[in-house]
Subunit: 186 residues, 2 copies
Amino acid sequence: MLPLQILLSLPAWIGEVADVGRRYRSDEDRVGLAIELSRRNVACGDGGPFGAAVFDAADGRLIAAGVNRVIPQSCSVAHAEMMATMIAQQRLRRHRLNDDGGRYVLASSAQPCCQCYGGTVWSGIDELLIGARSEDVEELTEFDEGPLPADWIGELERRGIVVRRDILRDRARGVLAVYGASGMPY
Amino acid sequence: MLPLQILLSLPAWIGEVADVGRRYRSDEDRVGLAIELSRRNVACGDGGPFGAAVFDAADGRLIAAGVNRVIPQSCSVAHAEMMATMIAQQRLRRHRLNDDGGRYVLASSAQPCCQCYGGTVWSGIDELLIGARSEDVEELTEFDEGPLPADWIGELERRGIVVRRDILRDRARGVLAVYGASGMPY
């Protein structure tokens, strides 16, 4: 008999880091949370050095958080951005977040890889905020970002998704450096 | 309190279509199953017109099946290829399928979109088998395949993933045409 279900989960400490009562209003507030999630994920040994979060762009309300869970959950899809996006969509009960006419933001501690890049196209986000660049990830860790379209930012912007990067880049690089120096398996 | 879990599921009829006792030995056997999954998914109204399956390349054993579940599960990640890949990985308890030294095949009723394309890079598959082309999907349905690298096949092949396409292409186009003519929401 084939399995018919997939269950993915986040660590319980997410609730200590991500504050549902707070309003995350600036790009730095939003990427700052993503970076803190990445830092804590490494410190707790719960997955790779990546964090992400989805916000309501208008009021800064936190909709969902995510961290990399690839190795603990045996799932190559379980990157931080995908976890945050899937949880946000299931929470709001729609597969395209902005189908309600609102605007939604995905903040990531690092530039999305080829899989998460493609995923943003279908997710219904309006803004993608990025901490570390792809070259930071490849310099400081063993991770590969994979093949992207040559004009990856332009492709998103033509589909209505604004991209802003280098937000708290040094802080994001700091987590990647700690991870890279640790020799951790993920 | 933020949700910390994602649950995705496939329809119960998958077990009637996908035969764990059979050995799917040829490319046509493998893509044929993916197309039959897509056909049944449309007929049952359980998601978009896409099916996929993961096989052990050596003996043709079926590891996992998947169909598009985007709208029913409120999840833009729940494309057929991602569902099949995630179930295969959780079943085999490793995030990279071929880490055991085996060879694995992902067969899809249609060319993977930008998200599933990126996902294949990390999944540990060795062969990607495709029925309908991207232009078939865009001709016969309202779906967009999204931005891909210019040389998307070459990028996979440089990473050790062989791509073969146009396998039972007319049969795959037939399902897309039925779906496209039906005016179904997904």
